[in-house]
Protein backbone atom coordinates (compact mmCIF):
# COMPACT_ATOMS: atom_id res chain seq x y z
CA UNK A 1 0.00 0.00 0.00
CA UNK A 2 1.34 3.37 -0.93
CA UNK A 3 1.72 5.97 1.80
CA UNK A 4 -0.78 8.77 2.34
CA UNK A 5 1.78 11.45 1.58
CA UNK A 6 5.32 10.60 0.62
CA UNK A 7 8.31 12.82 0.15
CA UNK A 8 10.63 10.90 -2.14
CA UNK A 9 14.24 12.01 -2.47
CA UNK A 10 13.33 15.68 -2.72
CA UNK A 11 16.14 18.03 -3.68
CA UNK A 12 15.86 21.77 -4.24
CA UNK A 13 18.63 23.89 -5.69
CA UNK A 14 18.56 27.68 -5.96
CA UNK A 15 21.48 28.54 -8.21
CA UNK A 16 24.54 27.59 -6.20
CA UNK A 17 22.60 26.86 -3.03
CA UNK A 18 21.43 23.33 -2.34
CA UNK A 19 18.51 24.13 -0.05
CA UNK A 20 17.30 20.53 0.19
CA UNK A 21 19.06 17.32 -0.71
CA UNK A 22 17.53 13.89 -0.93
CA UNK A 23 14.88 14.35 1.76
CA UNK A 24 12.56 11.36 2.09
CA UNK A 25 9.90 10.46 4.61
CA UNK A 26 6.30 9.37 4.60
CA UNK A 27 3.33 10.81 6.44
CA UNK A 28 0.52 8.59 7.68
CA UNK A 29 -3.08 9.72 7.55
CA UNK A 30 -4.00 11.52 10.76
CA UNK A 31 -0.38 12.00 11.83
CA UNK A 32 1.08 15.18 13.20
CA UNK A 33 4.56 15.55 11.75
CA UNK A 34 6.75 18.12 13.43
CA UNK A 35 9.35 19.50 11.09
CA UNK A 36 12.24 21.00 13.04
CA UNK A 37 15.76 22.12 12.40
CA UNK A 38 18.04 25.12 12.89
CA UNK A 39 17.51 28.35 10.93
CA UNK A 40 18.19 27.90 7.24
CA UNK A 41 17.86 24.13 7.39
CA UNK A 42 15.26 24.07 4.61
CA UNK A 43 12.00 23.69 6.55
CA UNK A 44 10.11 26.42 4.72
CA UNK A 45 11.57 25.32 1.39
CA UNK A 46 10.24 21.82 2.05
CA UNK A 47 6.82 23.28 2.93
CA UNK A 48 6.89 25.19 -0.35
CA UNK A 49 7.71 21.99 -2.24
CA UNK A 50 4.95 19.99 -0.53
CA UNK A 51 2.39 22.73 -1.24
CA UNK A 52 3.49 22.96 -4.87
CA UNK A 53 4.65 26.57 -4.60
CA UNK A 54 8.13 25.37 -5.61
CA UNK A 55 8.80 22.53 -8.03
CA UNK A 56 11.60 20.32 -6.66
CA UNK A 57 14.74 20.11 -8.79
CA UNK A 58 15.00 16.41 -7.99
CA UNK A 59 12.75 13.79 -6.41
CA UNK A 60 9.02 14.19 -5.97
CA UNK A 61 6.18 14.53 -3.50
CA UNK A 62 3.39 12.02 -4.00
CA UNK A 63 -0.11 12.66 -2.69
CA UNK A 64 -3.37 11.03 -3.80
CA UNK A 65 -1.39 9.18 -6.52
CA UNK A 66 -0.30 12.48 -8.03
CA UNK A 67 3.14 14.07 -8.11
CA UNK A 68 2.55 17.51 -6.56
CA UNK A 69 5.15 19.11 -8.81
CA UNK A 70 3.20 18.16 -11.94
CA UNK A 71 0.02 19.94 -10.79
CA UNK A 72 -0.40 23.73 -11.24
CA UNK A 73 0.10 25.44 -7.87
CA UNK A 74 -3.47 26.75 -7.70
CA UNK A 75 -4.78 23.19 -8.03
CA UNK A 76 -2.75 21.71 -5.18
CA UNK A 77 -5.35 22.90 -2.68
CA UNK A 78 -7.99 21.11 -4.73
CA UNK A 79 -6.14 17.83 -4.13
CA UNK A 80 -6.54 18.47 -0.40
CA UNK A 81 -3.37 20.24 0.70
CA UNK A 82 -3.71 23.55 2.51
CA UNK A 83 -0.96 25.73 3.89
CA UNK A 84 -0.20 28.85 5.88
CA UNK A 85 2.66 31.24 5.22
CA UNK A 86 5.38 31.87 7.78
CA UNK A 87 5.32 35.52 6.71
CA UNK A 88 1.58 36.10 6.88
CA UNK A 89 -0.11 37.17 3.68
CA UNK A 90 -3.53 38.60 4.52
CA UNK A 91 -5.60 40.37 1.87
CA UNK A 92 -5.43 43.64 3.78
CA UNK A 93 -8.06 45.41 1.71
CA UNK A 94 -10.71 42.82 2.59
CA UNK A 95 -12.40 42.06 5.88
CA UNK A 96 -11.35 39.06 7.92
CA UNK A 97 -14.45 37.16 6.86
CA UNK A 98 -13.89 38.02 3.20
CA UNK A 99 -10.30 36.77 3.48
CA UNK A 100 -11.50 33.40 4.67
CA UNK A 101 -14.36 33.37 2.15
CA UNK A 102 -11.90 33.51 -0.77
CA UNK A 103 -10.60 30.10 0.33
CA UNK A 104 -14.15 28.82 0.66
CA UNK A 105 -14.96 30.04 -2.87
CA UNK A 106 -11.95 28.74 -4.75
CA UNK A 107 -10.71 25.89 -2.58
CA UNK A 108 -11.45 22.24 -2.88
CA UNK A 109 -15.15 22.53 -2.05
CA UNK A 110 -15.58 25.95 -3.65
CA UNK A 111 -17.15 24.81 -6.92
CA UNK A 112 -20.87 25.34 -6.80
CA UNK A 113 -20.66 27.24 -3.52
CA UNK A 114 -22.41 30.59 -3.75
CA UNK A 115 -20.81 33.73 -2.32
CA UNK A 116 -23.39 33.66 0.46
CA UNK A 117 -22.58 30.05 1.37
CA UNK A 118 -18.88 30.91 1.26
CA UNK A 119 -19.48 33.73 3.74
CA UNK A 120 -21.39 31.43 6.05
CA UNK A 121 -18.58 28.88 5.92
CA UNK A 122 -16.07 31.67 6.54
CA UNK A 123 -18.04 32.80 9.59
CA UNK A 124 -17.95 29.27 11.02
CA UNK A 125 -14.19 29.12 10.54
CA UNK A 126 -13.72 32.55 12.12
CA UNK A 127 -15.42 31.08 15.17
CA UNK A 128 -13.18 27.99 15.10
CA UNK A 129 -10.02 30.13 15.21
CA UNK A 130 -11.52 32.72 17.60
CA UNK A 131 -11.72 35.57 15.12
CA UNK A 132 -15.51 35.93 15.07
CA UNK A 133 -15.37 39.17 17.04
CA UNK A 134 -13.24 40.85 14.37
CA UNK A 135 -14.80 39.16 11.32
CA UNK A 136 -16.08 42.47 9.93
CA UNK A 137 -12.84 44.39 10.47
CA UNK A 138 -10.36 44.90 7.65
CA UNK A 139 -7.55 42.34 7.88
CA UNK A 140 -5.10 45.25 8.06
CA UNK A 141 -6.41 46.01 11.58
CA UNK A 142 -5.38 42.62 12.99
CA UNK A 143 -2.60 42.04 15.50
CA UNK A 144 0.14 39.53 14.67
CA UNK A 145 -1.39 36.63 16.65
CA UNK A 146 -4.72 37.31 14.95
CA UNK A 147 -3.05 37.42 11.55
CA UNK A 148 -1.57 33.99 12.31
CA UNK A 149 -5.07 32.77 13.17
CA UNK A 150 -6.37 34.25 9.95
CA UNK A 151 -3.74 32.27 8.02
CA UNK A 152 -5.04 29.09 9.66
CA UNK A 153 -8.67 29.98 8.95
CA UNK A 154 -7.91 30.67 5.28
CA UNK A 155 -6.15 27.31 4.96
CA UNK A 156 -9.03 25.55 6.75
CA UNK A 157 -11.49 27.09 4.30
CA UNK A 158 -9.94 24.79 1.68
CA UNK A 159 -11.22 21.75 3.64
CA UNK A 160 -7.77 20.19 3.48
CA UNK A 161 -6.81 16.59 4.25
CA UNK A 162 -3.28 17.78 4.90
CA UNK A 163 -2.55 21.11 6.50
CA UNK A 164 0.93 22.62 6.43
CA UNK A 165 1.45 25.07 9.28
CA UNK A 166 4.55 27.21 8.98
CA UNK A 167 5.39 28.78 12.34
CA UNK A 168 1.86 29.71 13.30
CA UNK A 169 2.93 29.99 16.94
CA UNK A 170 5.93 32.28 16.48
CA UNK A 171 5.45 35.48 18.45
CA UNK A 172 2.57 34.17 20.55
CA UNK A 173 2.63 34.37 24.35
CA UNK A 174 2.25 31.33 26.58
CA UNK A 175 -1.55 31.37 26.83
CA UNK A 176 -1.87 32.02 23.09
CA UNK A 177 0.40 29.05 22.41
CA UNK A 178 -1.86 26.88 24.58
CA UNK A 179 -4.88 28.07 22.60
CA UNK A 180 -3.07 27.33 19.35
CA UNK A 181 -2.18 23.84 20.57
CA UNK A 182 -5.81 23.20 21.46
CA UNK A 183 -6.74 24.28 17.95
CA UNK A 184 -4.18 21.88 16.46
CA UNK A 185 -5.53 19.02 18.59
CA UNK A 186 -9.09 19.78 17.52
CA UNK A 187 -7.95 19.65 13.88
CA UNK A 188 -6.34 16.24 14.34
CA UNK A 189 -9.50 15.09 16.06
CA UNK A 190 -11.34 16.02 12.87
CA UNK A 191 -8.98 13.78 10.88
CA UNK A 192 -6.75 16.47 9.38
CA UNK A 193 -3.14 15.41 8.89
CA UNK A 194 -0.73 18.11 10.01
CA UNK A 195 2.80 19.00 9.06
CA UNK A 196 3.99 21.60 11.52
CA UNK A 197 7.09 23.77 11.38
CA UNK A 198 7.75 25.35 14.75
CA UNK A 199 10.63 26.71 16.77
CA UNK A 200 8.90 26.28 20.11
CA UNK A 201 10.25 22.89 21.13
CA UNK A 202 7.89 22.34 24.02
CA UNK A 203 4.88 23.00 21.82
CA UNK A 204 5.95 20.87 18.92
CA UNK A 205 7.08 17.98 21.12
CA UNK A 206 3.73 17.86 22.88
CA UNK A 207 1.63 17.86 19.74
CA UNK A 208 3.63 15.79 17.22
CA UNK A 209 3.37 12.05 16.64
CA UNK A 210 6.55 12.04 14.57
CA UNK A 211 9.41 14.49 14.34
CA UNK A 212 11.53 14.99 11.26
CA UNK A 213 14.75 16.93 11.77
CA UNK A 214 16.41 18.84 8.96
CA UNK A 215 19.89 20.34 9.04
CA UNK A 216 21.56 22.02 6.09
CA UNK A 217 18.92 20.65 3.77
CA UNK A 218 19.31 17.03 4.81
CA UNK A 219 17.12 14.85 6.97
CA UNK A 220 19.23 13.95 9.98
CA UNK A 221 16.69 12.26 12.20
CA UNK A 222 13.14 10.97 12.22
CA UNK A 223 11.17 9.33 14.97
CA UNK A 224 8.98 9.77 18.01
CA UNK A 225 9.60 13.06 19.85
CA UNK A 226 11.46 11.52 22.84
CA UNK A 227 13.76 9.52 20.55
CA UNK A 228 14.65 12.52 18.44
CA UNK A 229 15.59 14.86 21.29
CA UNK A 230 18.13 12.40 22.65
CA UNK A 231 19.65 11.79 19.22
CA UNK A 232 23.30 12.73 19.01
CA UNK A 233 22.91 14.08 15.45
CA UNK A 234 20.10 16.40 16.52
CA UNK A 235 21.98 17.80 19.50
CA UNK A 236 24.96 18.33 17.25
CA UNK A 237 22.91 20.13 14.62
CA UNK A 238 21.31 22.45 17.14
CA UNK A 239 24.11 23.06 19.61
CA UNK A 240 27.28 22.28 17.69
CA UNK A 241 29.62 19.28 17.64
CA UNK A 242 31.64 20.38 20.70
CA UNK A 243 28.56 20.56 22.85
CA UNK A 244 27.32 17.24 21.51
CA UNK A 245 30.68 15.59 22.21
CA UNK A 246 30.77 17.10 25.70
CA UNK A 247 27.23 15.96 26.36
CA UNK A 248 28.06 12.46 25.18
CA UNK A 249 31.12 12.50 27.42
CA UNK A 250 29.04 13.63 30.39
CA UNK A 251 26.46 10.96 29.73
CA UNK A 252 29.25 8.38 29.61
CA UNK A 253 30.71 9.63 32.93
CA UNK A 254 27.29 9.57 34.54
CA UNK A 255 26.72 6.01 33.40
CA UNK A 256 30.12 4.95 34.71
CA UNK A 257 29.46 6.61 38.06
CA UNK A 258 26.12 4.84 38.39
CA UNK A 259 27.81 1.57 37.52
CA UNK A 260 30.40 2.15 40.19
CA UNK A 261 27.77 3.04 42.80
CA UNK A 262 25.77 -0.06 42.08
CA UNK A 263 28.62 -2.43 43.14
CA UNK A 264 29.16 -0.54 46.47
CA UNK A 265 27.75 -2.64 49.31
CA UNK A 266 24.89 -0.95 51.18
CA UNK A 267 26.05 -1.54 54.72
CA UNK A 268 23.20 0.27 56.41
CA UNK A 269 20.52 -1.80 54.77
CA UNK A 270 18.93 -4.46 56.89
Amino acid sequence: MSAFLSIEGVGMRFGGLQALSDVSFTVEKGAVVGLIGPNGSGKTTLMNVISGVLKPTSGRVMFANRAIGSVPTYQVCKLGIGRTFQIVKPFTGLTVRENVAVGAMYGRTGNGRTTRAAFERAQELCEVVHLAHVADRPASDLTIPDRKRLEVAKALALDPDVLLLDEVMAGLNASEVDAALDLLRSLTARGVTLIVVEHLMKAIMSVSTTIVVLAEGKKIAEGAPHEVVSSHAVVEAYLGSRFAARQAQLAEMKREAEEALRVEPHGDRP
Binding site: S51, V53, P72, T73, Y74, Q75, V76, C77, K78, G82, R83, F85, K89, P90, F91, T92, G93, L94, T95, R97, E98, A101, V102, G103, M105, Y106, G107, R108, G110, T115, R116, A118, F119, E120, Q123, D136, P138, K154, A155, A157, L158
Partner: protein
Protein backbone atom coordinates in the same frame (compact mmCIF):
# COMPACT_ATOMS: atom_id res chain seq x y z
CA UNK B 1 -27.37 39.74 7.05
CA UNK B 2 -23.81 39.76 5.80
CA UNK B 3 -22.81 43.03 4.21
CA UNK B 4 -21.05 42.97 0.88
CA UNK B 5 -20.52 46.74 0.84
CA UNK B 6 -16.75 46.45 1.29
CA UNK B 7 -15.89 45.12 -2.12
CA UNK B 8 -18.23 47.44 -4.02
CA UNK B 9 -17.07 50.50 -2.07
CA UNK B 10 -19.23 53.24 -0.62
CA UNK B 11 -22.94 52.43 -0.81
CA UNK B 12 -24.20 56.06 -0.59
CA UNK B 13 -21.86 57.01 -3.44
CA UNK B 14 -23.16 54.10 -5.50
CA UNK B 15 -26.76 55.17 -4.96
CA UNK B 16 -25.86 58.77 -5.88
CA UNK B 17 -24.20 57.55 -9.07
CA UNK B 18 -27.22 55.48 -10.04
CA UNK B 19 -29.50 58.48 -9.49
CA UNK B 20 -27.19 60.62 -11.63
CA UNK B 21 -27.19 58.00 -14.38
CA UNK B 22 -30.96 58.07 -14.50
CA UNK B 23 -30.90 61.89 -14.55
CA UNK B 24 -28.49 61.84 -17.47
CA UNK B 25 -31.22 60.21 -19.56
CA UNK B 26 -32.78 63.67 -19.75
CA UNK B 27 -29.82 65.52 -21.26
CA UNK B 28 -30.86 65.35 -24.95
CA UNK B 29 -34.22 66.84 -23.99
CA UNK B 30 -32.49 69.77 -22.29
CA UNK B 31 -30.00 70.60 -25.00
CA UNK B 32 -29.34 68.71 -28.18
CA UNK B 33 -26.09 70.31 -29.30
CA UNK B 34 -22.91 71.06 -27.39
CA UNK B 35 -24.14 69.94 -23.96
CA UNK B 36 -25.28 66.61 -25.35
CA UNK B 37 -21.84 66.00 -26.86
CA UNK B 38 -20.08 66.97 -23.62
CA UNK B 39 -22.17 64.51 -21.65
CA UNK B 40 -21.81 61.82 -24.30
CA UNK B 41 -18.05 62.16 -23.88
CA UNK B 42 -18.42 61.93 -20.11
CA UNK B 43 -20.34 58.68 -20.56
CA UNK B 44 -17.69 57.42 -22.95
CA UNK B 45 -14.93 58.17 -20.48
CA UNK B 46 -16.97 56.50 -17.75
CA UNK B 47 -17.15 53.31 -19.82
CA UNK B 48 -13.40 53.45 -20.50
CA UNK B 49 -12.70 54.06 -16.82
CA UNK B 50 -14.97 51.17 -15.77
CA UNK B 51 -13.00 48.86 -18.04
CA UNK B 52 -9.67 50.07 -16.69
CA UNK B 53 -10.93 49.89 -13.09
CA UNK B 54 -11.84 46.22 -13.36
CA UNK B 55 -8.30 45.15 -14.22
CA UNK B 56 -6.40 48.04 -12.62
CA UNK B 57 -8.60 48.76 -9.60
CA UNK B 58 -9.95 45.31 -8.77
CA UNK B 59 -7.28 42.90 -10.01
CA UNK B 60 -4.47 45.41 -9.39
CA UNK B 61 -2.91 45.17 -12.84
CA UNK B 62 -2.28 48.71 -14.08
CA UNK B 63 -2.73 48.80 -17.83
CA UNK B 64 -1.52 51.63 -20.05
CA UNK B 65 -3.12 50.04 -23.05
CA UNK B 66 -6.83 50.46 -22.44
CA UNK B 67 -7.08 52.66 -25.56
CA UNK B 68 -6.06 49.70 -27.74
CA UNK B 69 -9.45 48.11 -27.06
CA UNK B 70 -11.23 51.40 -27.59
CA UNK B 71 -9.49 51.73 -30.96
CA UNK B 72 -10.30 48.17 -31.98
CA UNK B 73 -13.92 48.85 -31.05
CA UNK B 74 -14.09 51.97 -33.21
CA UNK B 75 -12.70 50.05 -36.18
CA UNK B 76 -15.09 47.12 -35.67
CA UNK B 77 -18.05 49.42 -35.82
CA UNK B 78 -16.52 51.54 -38.65
CA UNK B 79 -15.94 48.44 -40.79
CA UNK B 80 -19.54 47.36 -40.40
CA UNK B 81 -20.71 50.93 -41.05
CA UNK B 82 -18.72 51.35 -44.28
CA UNK B 83 -20.06 47.99 -45.45
CA UNK B 84 -23.62 49.12 -45.05
CA UNK B 85 -24.41 47.83 -41.56
CA UNK B 86 -25.11 51.03 -39.63
CA UNK B 87 -26.85 49.36 -36.70
CA UNK B 88 -25.04 50.53 -33.53
CA UNK B 89 -25.96 47.38 -31.64
CA UNK B 90 -24.26 45.24 -34.28
CA UNK B 91 -21.14 47.40 -33.98
CA UNK B 92 -21.13 47.05 -30.19
CA UNK B 93 -21.62 43.27 -30.40
CA UNK B 94 -18.76 42.84 -32.88
CA UNK B 95 -16.49 45.08 -30.80
CA UNK B 96 -17.20 43.07 -27.65
CA UNK B 97 -16.53 39.73 -29.33
CA UNK B 98 -13.36 40.85 -31.12
CA UNK B 99 -11.96 42.56 -28.02
CA UNK B 100 -12.67 39.62 -25.76
CA UNK B 101 -10.83 37.36 -28.21
CA UNK B 102 -7.91 39.78 -28.55
CA UNK B 103 -7.70 40.08 -24.76
CA UNK B 104 -7.65 36.32 -24.31
CA UNK B 105 -5.07 35.66 -27.04
CA UNK B 106 -2.75 38.49 -25.96
CA UNK B 107 -3.53 38.23 -22.27
CA UNK B 108 -2.34 34.67 -21.78
CA UNK B 109 1.30 35.63 -22.49
CA UNK B 110 1.20 39.27 -21.29
CA UNK B 111 -0.65 38.71 -18.03
CA UNK B 112 2.06 36.34 -16.83
CA UNK B 113 4.09 39.51 -16.31
CA UNK B 114 3.78 41.21 -12.96
CA UNK B 115 3.71 44.86 -11.91
CA UNK B 116 5.55 47.44 -13.99
CA UNK B 117 6.48 44.93 -16.65
CA UNK B 118 2.83 44.36 -17.41
CA UNK B 119 2.20 48.11 -17.62
CA UNK B 120 5.02 48.65 -20.09
CA UNK B 121 3.90 45.66 -22.18
CA UNK B 122 0.36 47.06 -22.47
CA UNK B 123 1.72 50.47 -23.50
CA UNK B 124 3.80 48.81 -26.21
CA UNK B 125 0.81 46.79 -27.26
CA UNK B 126 -1.45 49.81 -27.78
CA UNK B 127 1.23 51.57 -29.83
CA UNK B 128 1.83 48.45 -31.90
CA UNK B 129 -1.87 47.98 -32.64
CA UNK B 130 -2.16 51.63 -33.67
CA UNK B 131 0.72 51.20 -36.14
CA UNK B 132 -0.74 47.93 -37.37
CA UNK B 133 -4.09 49.58 -38.10
CA UNK B 134 -2.40 52.53 -39.82
CA UNK B 135 -0.75 50.10 -42.22
CA UNK B 136 -3.87 48.17 -43.24
CA UNK B 137 -5.39 49.69 -46.39
CA UNK B 138 -8.73 47.99 -45.82
CA UNK B 139 -9.02 50.06 -42.63
CA UNK B 140 -8.25 53.29 -44.43
CA UNK B 141 -4.58 53.43 -43.45
CA UNK B 142 -3.48 56.70 -41.86
CA UNK B 143 -6.18 58.50 -43.83
CA UNK B 144 -8.96 56.98 -41.76
CA UNK B 145 -12.55 56.06 -42.53
CA UNK B 146 -15.62 58.24 -42.96
CA UNK B 147 -18.78 56.76 -41.47
CA UNK B 148 -22.40 57.15 -42.43
CA UNK B 149 -24.31 58.96 -39.70
CA UNK B 150 -27.98 59.26 -38.85
CA UNK B 151 -29.66 62.53 -39.79
CA UNK B 152 -29.50 65.46 -37.35
CA UNK B 153 -33.01 64.90 -36.08
CA UNK B 154 -32.04 61.46 -34.78
CA UNK B 155 -28.59 62.35 -33.55
CA UNK B 156 -29.64 61.62 -29.95
CA UNK B 157 -29.47 57.87 -30.67
CA UNK B 158 -25.69 58.11 -30.27
CA UNK B 159 -26.16 59.71 -26.89
CA UNK B 160 -28.53 57.00 -25.72
CA UNK B 161 -26.30 54.27 -27.12
CA UNK B 162 -23.37 55.68 -25.14
CA UNK B 163 -25.59 55.98 -22.07
CA UNK B 164 -26.56 52.32 -22.42
CA UNK B 165 -22.91 51.28 -22.73
CA UNK B 166 -21.92 53.29 -19.64
CA UNK B 167 -24.90 51.98 -17.68
CA UNK B 168 -24.04 48.40 -18.66
CA UNK B 169 -20.44 48.97 -17.53
CA UNK B 170 -21.64 50.34 -14.18
CA UNK B 171 -24.06 47.47 -13.69
CA UNK B 172 -21.51 44.93 -14.93
CA UNK B 173 -18.88 46.19 -12.49
CA UNK B 174 -21.35 46.05 -9.62
CA UNK B 175 -22.36 42.47 -10.47
CA UNK B 176 -18.79 41.30 -11.02
CA UNK B 177 -17.50 42.93 -7.83
CA UNK B 178 -20.11 41.16 -5.69
CA UNK B 179 -19.59 37.80 -7.35
CA UNK B 180 -16.93 35.17 -6.77
CA UNK B 181 -15.11 36.73 -9.71
CA UNK B 182 -14.72 40.01 -7.82
CA UNK B 183 -13.14 38.25 -4.86
CA UNK B 184 -10.71 36.41 -7.14
CA UNK B 185 -9.67 39.76 -8.67
CA UNK B 186 -9.19 41.43 -5.29
CA UNK B 187 -7.30 38.41 -3.90
CA UNK B 188 -4.90 38.66 -6.84
CA UNK B 189 -4.51 42.39 -6.24
CA UNK B 190 -3.90 42.02 -2.52
CA UNK B 191 -1.46 39.12 -2.66
CA UNK B 192 -1.06 36.95 -5.69
CA UNK B 193 0.98 34.27 -3.87
CA UNK B 194 -1.66 33.91 -1.18
CA UNK B 195 -4.42 33.84 -3.79
CA UNK B 196 -2.74 30.96 -5.62
CA UNK B 197 -2.61 28.65 -2.61
CA UNK B 198 -6.31 29.36 -2.00
CA UNK B 199 -7.08 27.91 -5.44
CA UNK B 200 -7.28 31.09 -7.52
CA UNK B 201 -5.61 30.64 -10.92
CA UNK B 202 -4.02 34.06 -11.42
CA UNK B 203 -3.62 33.89 -15.19
CA UNK B 204 -7.18 32.75 -15.73
CA UNK B 205 -8.77 35.49 -13.65
CA UNK B 206 -6.49 38.22 -14.92
CA UNK B 207 -7.37 37.25 -18.48
CA UNK B 208 -11.08 37.32 -17.58
CA UNK B 209 -10.67 40.79 -16.04
CA UNK B 210 -8.81 42.00 -19.09
CA UNK B 211 -11.38 40.53 -21.48
CA UNK B 212 -14.22 42.32 -19.66
CA UNK B 213 -12.13 45.52 -19.55
CA UNK B 214 -11.53 45.20 -23.29
CA UNK B 215 -15.19 44.55 -24.02
CA UNK B 216 -16.20 47.68 -22.08
CA UNK B 217 -13.69 49.92 -23.87
CA UNK B 218 -14.58 48.36 -27.22
CA UNK B 219 -18.29 48.96 -26.74
CA UNK B 220 -17.59 52.65 -26.04
CA UNK B 221 -15.42 52.83 -29.16
CA UNK B 222 -18.12 51.20 -31.25
CA UNK B 223 -20.51 54.03 -30.38
CA UNK B 224 -17.88 56.76 -30.62
CA UNK B 225 -17.00 55.93 -34.26
CA UNK B 226 -20.39 56.62 -35.86
CA UNK B 227 -21.13 59.45 -33.42
CA UNK B 228 -17.92 61.16 -34.50
CA UNK B 229 -18.49 60.34 -38.16
CA UNK B 230 -14.83 59.88 -38.93
CA UNK B 231 -12.01 57.83 -37.40
CA UNK B 232 -8.31 57.54 -38.08
CA UNK B 233 -5.55 55.74 -36.14
CA UNK B 234 -4.45 58.93 -34.37
CA UNK B 235 -7.99 59.62 -33.14
CA UNK B 236 -8.99 56.05 -32.35
CA UNK B 237 -5.80 55.41 -30.35
CA UNK B 238 -5.61 58.95 -28.90
CA UNK B 239 -3.18 58.91 -26.01
CA UNK B 240 -5.53 61.02 -23.85
CA UNK B 241 -7.96 58.12 -23.92
CA UNK B 242 -5.22 55.99 -22.41
CA UNK B 243 -4.45 58.40 -19.58
CA UNK B 244 -7.92 59.78 -18.76
CA UNK B 245 -9.48 56.48 -17.63
CA UNK B 246 -6.60 55.91 -15.20
CA UNK B 247 -6.80 59.42 -13.74
CA UNK B 248 -10.58 59.26 -13.56
CA UNK B 249 -10.52 55.96 -11.71
CA UNK B 250 -7.91 57.33 -9.31
CA UNK B 251 -9.86 60.51 -8.67
CA UNK B 252 -13.15 58.73 -8.15
CA UNK B 253 -11.68 55.78 -6.23
CA UNK B 254 -10.04 52.70 -7.71
CA UNK B 255 -11.53 49.35 -6.87
CA UNK B 256 -14.97 50.83 -6.21
CA UNK B 257 -18.14 50.67 -8.31
CA UNK B 258 -19.00 54.37 -8.02
CA UNK B 259 -15.46 55.69 -8.49
CA UNK B 260 -14.97 55.61 -12.27
CA UNK B 261 -18.26 57.41 -12.94
CA UNK B 262 -17.57 60.09 -10.32
CA UNK B 263 -14.07 60.55 -11.72
CA UNK B 264 -15.26 60.73 -15.32
CA UNK B 265 -17.99 63.25 -14.49
CA UNK B 266 -15.64 65.51 -12.54
CA UNK B 267 -12.58 65.32 -14.75
CA UNK B 268 -14.27 65.48 -18.11
CA UNK B 269 -16.54 68.23 -16.79
CA UNK B 270 -13.69 70.25 -15.29
CA UNK B 271 -11.60 69.69 -18.40
CA UNK B 272 -14.40 71.01 -20.57
CA UNK B 273 -14.80 74.15 -18.50
CA UNK B 274 -11.05 74.78 -18.25
CA UNK B 275 -10.67 74.29 -21.97
CA UNK B 276 -13.23 77.01 -22.62
CA UNK B 277 -11.66 79.58 -20.33
CA UNK B 278 -7.98 78.69 -20.46
CA UNK B 279 -7.39 77.41 -23.95
CA UNK B 280 -3.62 77.28 -23.65
CA UNK B 281 -2.97 76.21 -20.08
CA UNK B 282 -5.93 73.99 -19.19
CA UNK B 283 -3.66 70.96 -19.02
CA UNK B 284 -1.71 72.69 -16.25
CA UNK B 285 -4.80 72.66 -14.02
CA UNK B 286 -5.42 69.12 -15.04
CA UNK B 287 -1.91 68.06 -14.05
CA UNK B 288 -2.10 69.92 -10.75
CA UNK B 289 -5.37 68.20 -9.95
CA UNK B 290 -3.83 64.77 -10.52
CA UNK B 291 -0.94 65.59 -8.19
CA UNK B 292 -3.30 66.87 -5.48
CA UNK B 293 -5.52 63.80 -5.68
CA UNK B 294 -2.62 61.40 -5.42
CA UNK B 295 -1.21 63.33 -2.46
CA UNK B 296 -4.35 63.95 -0.46
CA UNK B 297 -6.99 61.53 -1.68
CA UNK B 298 -5.24 58.32 -2.64
CA UNK B 299 -8.47 56.37 -2.08
CA UNK B 300 -10.47 58.74 -4.26
CA UNK B 301 -13.49 60.95 -3.70
CA UNK B 302 -15.78 57.98 -3.12
CA UNK B 303 -13.85 57.23 0.08
CA UNK B 304 -15.15 60.51 1.51
CA UNK B 305 -18.76 59.48 0.95
CA UNK B 306 -19.84 56.90 3.46
CA UNK B 307 -16.68 54.81 3.65
CA UNK B 308 -15.27 54.20 7.09
CA UNK B 309 -12.20 56.27 7.85
CA UNK B 310 -12.55 58.26 4.61
CA UNK B 311 -12.51 61.77 6.10
CA UNK B 312 -10.09 60.73 8.81
CA UNK B 313 -7.66 59.50 6.16
CA UNK B 314 -8.11 62.75 4.20
CA UNK B 315 -7.38 64.91 7.25
CA UNK B 316 -4.40 62.77 8.12
CA UNK B 317 -2.94 63.11 4.64
CA UNK B 318 -3.49 66.90 4.82
CA UNK B 319 -1.70 66.93 8.16
CA UNK B 320 1.21 64.94 6.77
CA UNK B 321 2.07 67.82 4.42
CA UNK B 322 1.82 70.58 7.05
CA UNK B 323 5.00 72.63 7.27
Amino acid sequence: MISLAGITGSRPALIAVMVMMVALLGIPAVHNGYVEIVFRNILMYAALAYGWNLLGGYAGYVSFGQVAFFGIGTYCSALLNTHGITNIGAGIALAIVVNALVAIVLGIPILRLRGHYFGIATLGLSLAIQDLVANIDALGGTGGLALKQVDDAHFFVYYYAMWAVAAACLLGTWLVARSKLGYAFVAIRENEDAAVVLGVSPTRYKVIAWAIAGAMAGAAGAVYAPANGFIDPAGAFEVDNNVFPIVMSLLGGIGTVAGPFVGALLLAGVNEVLQRFFVKIHTLFFGAMIVLVVMFLPRGIVALIGMRGGWRGFRRSLGAYRV
